[in-house]
């Protein structure tokens, strides 16, 4: 599956921990975003978190990334007991490329920030893998949205972290580019523990080992679906279509009337 470029480095499966969120309560201002929320991210698998916009998916992801406000109660644990902080790569919906750096320098940003030597040849390989060969020295401004997001994916993978948190990474792209990047991500994220926040059920079908649906206010995580077969899945094959129906069923169930779960 890996495309022969040595991207999935050796023994990541051993390094990637499972992550458990237990009874988490998070408040944003006076709104309780979620309460008594528990979720498991399986080691080395892609967990998709689906839900309507504004439900608190991104807040959960930011919490895991150490970016958001602290939990009021509850806990976040890695299965190996170590802290999450130094092994997370984060990818946002926006490419977040620095406009004054060229693509290659953007991809090696992490090393520069840490004051470590930059592995430019690995960065060049990664850029080739995401289809940006020859664009290393272009500034982001001259790239299309799809290319920029490819560069952002390369930067995420360059970090070579065992945990990858992605916040609707492909939602701003056109359909074709989105499909391509999902394929790439599915292959290149192998063996890492990934949380992929999305509002797109097809994306969940294509990429998820497991799919959770988040709903309600305060939000809860209602259902867990384990999808069969290895991602990236072909969205038109029969099994994927069945998964898609399941997921849509769960989404409808979790959001009756689609105007917020006021009875909860």
């Amino acid at each position: 599956m890996a495309n022969g470029s040595g991207l999935t480095s050796g023994n990541l499966r051993e390094q990637a921990p499972a992550i458990q969120v237990r009874n988490a309560r998070l408040r944003f201002g006076s709104t309780v975003l979620f309460e008594d929320l528990s979720v498991d991210l399986v080691a080395g698998e892609i967990t998709c978190l689906l839900g309507l916009s504004g439900i608190g998916k991104s807040s959960l992801l930011k919490l895991l990334a150490g970016l958001g406000p602290e939990l009021e109660s509850g806990s976040v644990h890695a299965s190996d007991g170590r802290s999450l902080n130094d092994r997370i790569a984060y990818m946002d919906q926006r490419d977040l490329l620095l406009p004054w750096l060229d693509v290659l320098d953007n991809v090696t940003l992490g090393a520069r920030l840490r004051g470590h030597p930059q592995d430019r040849s690995r960065a060049t390989d990664l850029l080739r893998d995401v289809g940006l060969a020859g664009r290393e020295h272009d500034r982001p401004a001259v790239l299309s949205g799809g290319m920029r997001q490819r560069a952002a994916l390369a930067r995420t993978l360059m970090e070579d972290r065992s945990i990858v948190l992605m916040d609707e990474p492909f939602s701003a792209l056109d359909a074709l580019t989105r499909l391509q990047l999902q394929d790439l991500a599915g292959r290149l994220l192998q063996d890492r523990t990934v949380l992929l926040v999305t509002h797109d059920p097809i994306e969940a079908v294509r990429l998820g080992h497991r799919v959770h649906v988040m709903s309600g206010q305060p939000a809860r995580i209602d259902s867990v679906m384990a999808l069969s077969g290895a991602p990236p899945r072909n969205p038109v094959d029969a099994q994927a279509a069945a998964h898609y129906r399941d997921i849509m069923g769960h989404l409808h169930q979790a959001n009756p009337g689609h105007d917020g779960d006021k009875s909860a």
């Binding site: 902080n85 946002d92 004054w100 920030l113 840490r114 004051g115 290393e136």
Partner: protein
């Protein structure tokens, strides 16, 4: 190239137009030469007294450039200190506001008293007058860093102590450069005011001194000549600063149209 030609053409038309307008006012108001000399006599004075005007212009331009340099260094340093260090924010920020609240014109005599009739008091004036725009704009830029970039950097850096300074150096400062650039453009435009006001208060050289002196002796044509030379240099300084900034920040959106000479870098093998 055609862009440049059309720019030169427009500039020429503007200058000629202003000259015609000036001459028209002279004719219509029937002003005597000691009230409003026409453009041609003034040009003649510039030509004939070039050897007198040039050294004075050199003095003023030096004052402006030194003031720009000092003010920029001071402003950039203050902005970084105010942004990064809490005590600096508490102590330096009020000073910054005060520096702007006191009109430079009001302290010009004191500066001349302290720093003398030479160049130092004028450089100080120019420095003071640009200190606030430079500091304020850079500080603003440092504060408004795209929060997504900061989040990204936070996940990339493990060492918290390293984080603040690495983020400052690699993200906040470069991201704030366009804001600093607009501050510097304002600075380039107002620095001549500082230098000339300094010269008016007390000097023995400089275009401001020439203007004051010529005015006192009713040599209005000489005064206008000095004024025109001063304006030309002020324009030249502004364009030079503007051009340098565009060249230095080619990734900045507003410098894109002139960015036709992006270096084609060779690929690493």
């Amino acid at each position: 190239m055609t862009d440049r030609l059309s720019f030169i053409f427009r500039a020429l038309v503007t200058v000629c137009g202003l000259g015609v307008l000036w001459q028209a006012i002279v004719w219509i108001t029937q002003s005597p030469p000691y009230i409003l000399p026409g453009p041609l006599p003034v040009l003649r004075v510039i030509a004939t007294r070039m050897d007198f005007l040039a050294p004075h212009a050199a003095v003023t331009v030096t004052e402006i450039l030194l003031g720009l340099l000092l003010g920029t260094i001071l402003g950039v340093t203050s902005a970084i200190l105010i942004h990064q260090l809490r005590p600096a924010r508490r102590w330096l920020f009020p000073l910054l506001v005060i520096s702007q609240a006191i009109p430079v014109f009001a302290i010009a005599p004191v500066l001349v008293l302290w720093l003398g009739y030479g160049m130092a008091s004028k450089v100080a004036m120019a420095t003071l007058i640009i200190y606030f725009p430079v500091t304020a704009s850079f500080m603003d830029g440092l504060r408004r860093t795209e929060s997504g970039w900061l989040d990204l950097a936070t996940t990339m850096i493990d060492d918290e102590r390293r984080c603040t300074w690495a983020v400052l150096w690699h993200i906040r400062i470069p991201a704030a450069l366009p804001a600093l650039a607009s501050g510097l453009r304002v600075a380039a435009a107002v620095a001549p005011i500082g230098a000339v006001v300094g010269e008016w208060v007390g000097a023995s050289a400089g275009l401001g001194y020439v203007m004051l002196h010529a005015n006192g002796r009713m040599q209005i044509d000489l005064m206008f000549a000095a004024l025109i030379v001063l304006s030309l240099f002020a324009l030249a300084i502004y364009s030079a600063v503007d051009g340098l900034l565009r060249r230095a920040l080619p990734w900045q959106p507003d410098s894109a149209p002139t960015d036709t000479d992006m270096p084609a870098r060779s690929k690493p093998s």
